[in-house]
């Protein structure tokens, strides 16, 4: 690993000031992804500013009925928190399907939002990658791309976001709170937090330089009864999703009054299935409606050479996740 300066920030003002003073510095939360990438020589920060000890560790309920998750709280403590298990079991389920016990103990919520793609061309420094080295080309576009995107990609980047947590947050409709160096704060809708590659595939999200994630806001719970996180992967433990579906249904008097639906493993960002959600609202929770929602969701899929399987798998996964969500506590 290349040498760097390790800075222990005593408070958030110090952390923000240190980041503002060094444009090649990075914040360090749990480090489960960043330290790995530094060993691989993919990330080369000149300074790490440790933010794990700054607080932001609490889970609290809000007046609007929602909850706030501290950005520095570990994934394990979040997923296993009694309030989260009870009110947002979809989020718990997705988070517990990710990584391993040791990584969930170390990884922070803010860090999970910032984890980088596991595209093998991004990791392999001898290959071209516009995300790692802008302008060098995309090795995966015409390379081995079975694990890559079917939505929202372009010639510059076909990588997918690897997070499970973020797929659930997209389905739930979370918000991200950030702090800026001038002391002001900003709230970002979850669907605007991650971005598509566009002409800047090196940027995974819409954070501005130095902004620090302090919390994730969850809306009033809607899917505490009918929920399911379906994760399809090449082996049944410790693997990233080929396709995942986070499905939440709010059912009143036998009718779906609200649906939350998002997919992982298919795009550069957690892929919210807005059209399918709208279609399901006001419908009966029946297989034919789930199938129609799945068709709508996958209509604009554009598979690459090696990943056409994801289109059919995606439809089946949506139907299965919705069915499981409905049947849970039905």
């Amino acid at each position: 690993m290349r040498p760097f300066v390790f800075t222990q920030a005593q408070n958030q003002e110090q952390a923000l000031a240190a980041a503002a003073a060094n444009e090649t510095a990075k914040y360090l939360g749990g480090g489960t992804n960043l330290i790995d990438l530094m060993k691989e020589d993919v990330e080369r920060p000149s300074e790490l500013i440790e933010v794990a000890g700054l607080g932001f560790q609490e889970i609290k309920s809000n007046q609007n009925g929602g909850y706030t998750l501290g950005a520095m709280l570990s994934n394990a403590d979040t997923a296993n928190h009694p309030d989260i298990r009870r009110h947002y079991p979809l989020l718990s389920m997705a988070m517990l399907s990710a990584a391993t016990a040791q990584i969930r103990n170390m990884a922070t919520n803010g860090g999970n939002l910032l984890q980088r793609t596991r595209c093998p061309y991004f990791y392999e420094t001898s290959m071209p990658c516009n995300k790692r080295e802008p302008g060098s080309g995309c090795g995966a576009r015409n390379g081995m791309n079975a694990l890559h995107a079917i939505f929202g990609w372009n010639e510059q980047c076909v990588a997918v976001n690897p997070s499970d947590m973020c797929v659930a947050l997209a389905a739930i409709g979370a918000k991200v709170q950030v702090q800026r160096v001038n002391g002001t704060t900003r709230t970002i809708d979850f669907s605007d937090f991650h971005r598509l590659p566009g002409d800047q595939p090196e940027a995974d999200n819409t954070l501005q330089p130095n902004e620090l994630i302090t919390a994730i806001e969850l809306p009033k719970p809607a899917f505490s009864k009918h929920y399911y996180y379906l994760k399809i992967r090449e082996r049944s433990s410790y693997a990233f999703a080929l396709i995942s579906v986070a499905a939440g249904l709010q059912i009143e008097n036998g009718t779906i009054v609200r649906a939350g639906l998002a997919m992982g493993g298919v795009a550069h960002k957690p892929w919210k299935l807005t059209r399918a959600e709208e279609f399901l609202t006001g419908k009966l929770p029946q297989t034919k409606n789930f199938e129609q929602a799945a068709e709508l969701a996958m209509r604009e899929a554009r598979p690459l050479e090696d990943n056409e399987y994801k289109v059919e798998m995606g439809k089946k996964a949506i139907v299965r996740a919705l069915t499981q969500a409905y049947e849970k506590n039905a």
Binding site: M1, R2, P3, F4, V5, F6, Q8, L28, G31, T32, I35, D36, M38, K39, L48, E50, A52, S74, A76, A99, T100, A101, Q102, I103, N105, M106, S237, Y238
Partner: protein
């Protein structure tokens, strides 16, 4: 630029100057000479380097020594007390939970965190907890048995009796 860290490892306090990029596993192995914690893959995949930091199992190959400042650490060397094996160590011995032994320290530390959170896990819960620990020898079966042994022991179960019954069962049906 060095950082000063204060850590407690297996009940002993240390203060050291460490370089930012020094990994915690290398601090433990090379500086404190606690070589029971192994480096397998060096990419947080295999779990051989698992230790307890403030009671939580973490992979020490993907944590900086500087991140451990102020932490209470336990490694495999801290498990036995007064010359007596920890029930997990005893379980691995009694149930043949190892062959080459390379993964064993990490397995035991991960299991220690599991039993702390969930003293009586089911087989499925044990397997889920171990998904970050690879064993290339045993096929995991006896590792699960070893952890159940430790869980039973803490429950005050009649282990000797259970053992005897276990031994009576043939491992494979021999076709006649």
């Amino acid at each position: 630029m060095a950082t000063t860290i204060n850590v407690s490892v297996n009940g002993k306090k240390y203060q050291d100057e460490v370089e930012g990029r020094l990994l915690l596993v290398h601090y433990l192995r090379d500086k404190l000479r606690l070589t029971g914690t192994h480096v397998g893959c060096d990419t947080s995949s295999c779990g051989a380097c698992t230790i307890l930091v403030d009671g939580k199992a973490v992979k020490s190959c993907t944590m900086l020594a500087a991140q451990a400042d102020g932490a209470t650490i336990k490694t495999i060397e801290g498990m036995a007390e007064k010359g007596k094996l920890h029930p997990l160590q005893e379980g691995f011995k009694e149930k043949h939970g190892l062959q080459c032994g390379f993964c064993t320290p990490g397995m035991i530390m991960t299991a220690a965190n599991l039993l702390e959170d969930n003293p009586h896990p089911s087989d499925e819960e044990i397997r889920h907890a171990l998904e970050g620990n690879f064993c290339r020898c045993t096929g995991y079966h006896n590792i699960v048995e070893a952890i159940k042994y430790a869980a039973d022991k803490s429950k005050g179960g009649d282990i000797e009796h259970a053992d005897a019954k276990e031994l009576e069962k043939p491992l494979f049906e021999v076709p006649s």
